[in-house]
Amino acid sequence: MTSTTQTPGSPAPTGSVEAARAGRGAPSPARRRRPSGDGFWPWLFLAPLVGGIAVFYFWPILQTAFYSLTDWGAFGGWDFAGFENYVTLFADPSLYLSIGNTLLYTAIVMLGIPIAVFLASLLNLPGLRFASLYRVLFFLPYVAMPTAIAMVWRIIFNGDFGLLNYGLGFLGIDGPYWISTPGAATVAVAIVGLWSSLGFAMIVLAAGLKNIPPEMYEASELDGASRWRQFRSITVPLLTPSIFFITIVTIISSFQVFDLLYAILGSSNPVLPKSMSLVYFFYREGFVNNDKGYAAAIAMVIFVIIGIVTAIQFRLQKRWVQVD
């Protein structure tokens, strides 16, 4: 036994951990101080970053907001059109269809978060051999190019010659034409999205796991807690800040799904109009149909939706994220 030096259930380590976490999570008084006393110096150092963000993010957002109110010609000319684009957009069934598809995609990809929590804590088990090898294997999909991933999955999903349906055949299941059946196509893309998001989630969670003091496990072990009980009562609660971060990032990136969908389904796929995501809808209107004002309006809707969803999450986090 290595933990004999500590009294089981001693309040000291737990207390100090909580204090440490609180110190990290809550804004310190120093950060609340007004910068007025420092003059322009802080701004000087912030300028490169703020300048970059202003030029490459805020400025395009403003431009997009403006162009969403115009009827944009093919190569730059525009006429002011008021809210015409928005009126057309909210009457366009494609908008609601693509919102629905995006939500379905997001919901499926979110299933990856519990899986990632589970896998990350397995990888964190003390004494696991080849742990870093597994970590590399799980992280590889994240660094691989989406188009390369898409090409491989296209072959796996192939209805006649694909690996997936071949495997399902052994189970007596007649698999669908995954990428050419409406509904199944969205699910197929989401499965790939889930699979390729696991690596990033696990790396973030692994970092979170390292912050959980081993003493807590040792203490609970002495109290007779099973591995499962430790997972539920120590790992998951103390990981909630990481899980929260992953949730925010996953939802934002899921709402922006485009490349996987475009590459897996292919641009001449007849189910595409029924399976497109919001960003694909934006792409189609802006770059295929050359209606850039309309596309700008779609972009603003995506922007607002993501903003609202993220705001709601920050509001809800107080109920389940253990920071304070």
Binding site: Q63, A74, G162, P270, P273
Partner: protein, 432 residues
């Protein structure tokens, strides 16, 4: 940045400034060029540097030869070749056009020429034609028309492609079906396809294949039935003839001659053919390069498309165009004119990457697969019709991809789908 009293006020001022600037910048809407400048062949010592934008890496070697020959005449004009893969080419070109940074000379295709020409992005070749530096009679007539927008000529074709039936002789033998002689009707084609599918069903081999690509499939049958895809400013899909052209593919799938639309989405027709699982593939002359150095090549021969009410094939070809915003227009036009010359076209043809458009420069193409009867593609020029396009073709191309599969799959009656397509396409055309 000056120091102002509080950060908040500074931000407000910044936003106000940004919005003001935004309005100022966007206020200057570009009306494009298009005002035909004086054309004249430049002096041979003209010094300039121009860019040449294209999308096919396979043709770069021949292009380099062209530039070398061009530099013999104009040693001080430097031509920089800029290759962008086709998938990104048009997105990039749009961005370049919007910011007035188009390459001086670049490749243009039928579906896009209307969009660029009608928005004043392209320089007409009127001057070169009037000066007799380019003679329109040297190129396939139907293709020259493709680059004529509102009675102004913007380019001549640099190459062309027509459609034929790529045939796997070995599969005909295996199925015990006699190879057609190439003088055949729709019915004979349908029967042949179904016979092969039935005979080789156990191996998952099909006689023929439809698909979502209009240029190689249903555009041809629509023209053969006497219909049209686009007729002036309106859609041609509502006509009975056009519907017959669509029904051809519905029938082919229904009688088992072709894989289903879903199968063809997962595995495209050309993939079925190159995997040796398809006996007859409707494909363009460009498909030859996919067969180079394959085991399949020895078994392949080409047949003309079967005739419907009349014989027809879609013809298309790429053109070299000059940007209206080019700062070295004289050099760019000299290069454009050279690329259209017999010398440059012969170099292109000998390199073998495509069929050059200039009359009698095509021998190298037919010789590249001597046993495959590639002459079919050249003969087809006589009964060819240009690829149907409009000023914003992409808008209704998307409608075709969305709606027609419902007819091919037999989910809805062809007449109903065609009527809906015609209605939506007319709406899209009205917006152009």
């Amino acid at each position: 940045m000056t120091t102002s009293p509080t950060p908040r006020r500074r931000i407000t001022a910044g936003v106000a400034g940004a919005v003001g600037l935004l309005l100022a910048v966007s206020g200057c809407s570009s009306d494009g060029g298009g005002d035909a400048s004086e054309y004249g062949a430049p002096d041979s010592d003209l010094k300039a540097s121009i860019t040449y934008g294209l999308w096919d890496q396979n043709q770069v070697a021949a292009v380099e030869e062209n530039i070398e020959a061009f530099n013999e005449e104009y040693p001080n004009i430097e031509v920089n070749v800029n290759v962008t893969p086709f998938a990104e080419y048009w997105t990039k070109l749009q961005t370049q056009a919007s910011s007035d940074t188009l390459p001086d000379v670049f490749w243009m295709n039928g579906p896009n020429v209307g969009l660029y020409a009608s928005n004043g992005q392209l320089e007409p070749i009127t001057g070169a034609v009037e000066a007799d530096d380019i003679d329109l009679a040297n190129y396939p007539e139907s293709l020259v028309g493709l680059y004529n927008v509102d009675d102004v000529q913007y380019g001549v074709p640099k190459d062309f492609d027509t459609i034929g039936v790529w045939t796997n002789k070995a599969l005909f033998e295996q199925a015990g079906v006699e190879l057609p002689d190439g003088n055949w009707t729709w019915d004979e084609f349908q029967t042949t396809a179904a016979e092969i599918s039935t005979a080789l069903e156990g191996q998952g081999i099909y006689g023929a294949a439809g698909g979502m690509d209009g240029q190689t499939t249903y555009y041809n049958t629509i023209l053969q039935a006497g219909g049209s895809v686009i007729d002036g400013d309106t859609s041609g899909y509502a006509s009975e003839e056009s519907q017959a052209g669509i029904q051809f593919w519905t029938d082919l799938i229904a009688n088992g001659g072709s894989p289903t639309i879903q199968q063809l989405t997962d595995t495209t027709a050309d993939q079925w053919f190159t995997s040796g699982k398809l006996a007859m593939y409707w494909g363009g002359s460009w498909f030859r390069s996919a067969l180079t150095d394959t085991e399949l090549a020895a078994d392949v021969t080409v047949l003309p498309l079967p005739a419907g009410e009349e014989q027809a094939t879609v013809i298309h070809g790429v053109s070299n165009v000059v940007s209206a915003a080019s700062e070295n227009k004289q050099a760019a036009q000299a290069f454009q004119t050279f690329l259209a010359s017999e010398e440059a076209q012969q170099q292109q043809g000998d390199a073998g990457a495509m069929i050059p458009a200039y009359t009698d420069t095509q021998d190298a193409f037919t010789a590249s697969m001597p046993d495959a009867n590639l002459q079919v593609f050249l003969d087809a020029v006589d009964y060819s019709q240009p690829l149907p396009v409009s000023n914003n073709s992409a808008a209704w191309n998307a409608l075709e991809t969305e709606l027609l599969p419902q007819a091919f799959a037999g989910e809805r009656p062809t007449a109903e789908v065609a009527a809906e397509l015609a209605e939506q396409m007319d709406a899209a055309l009205a917006e152009e």
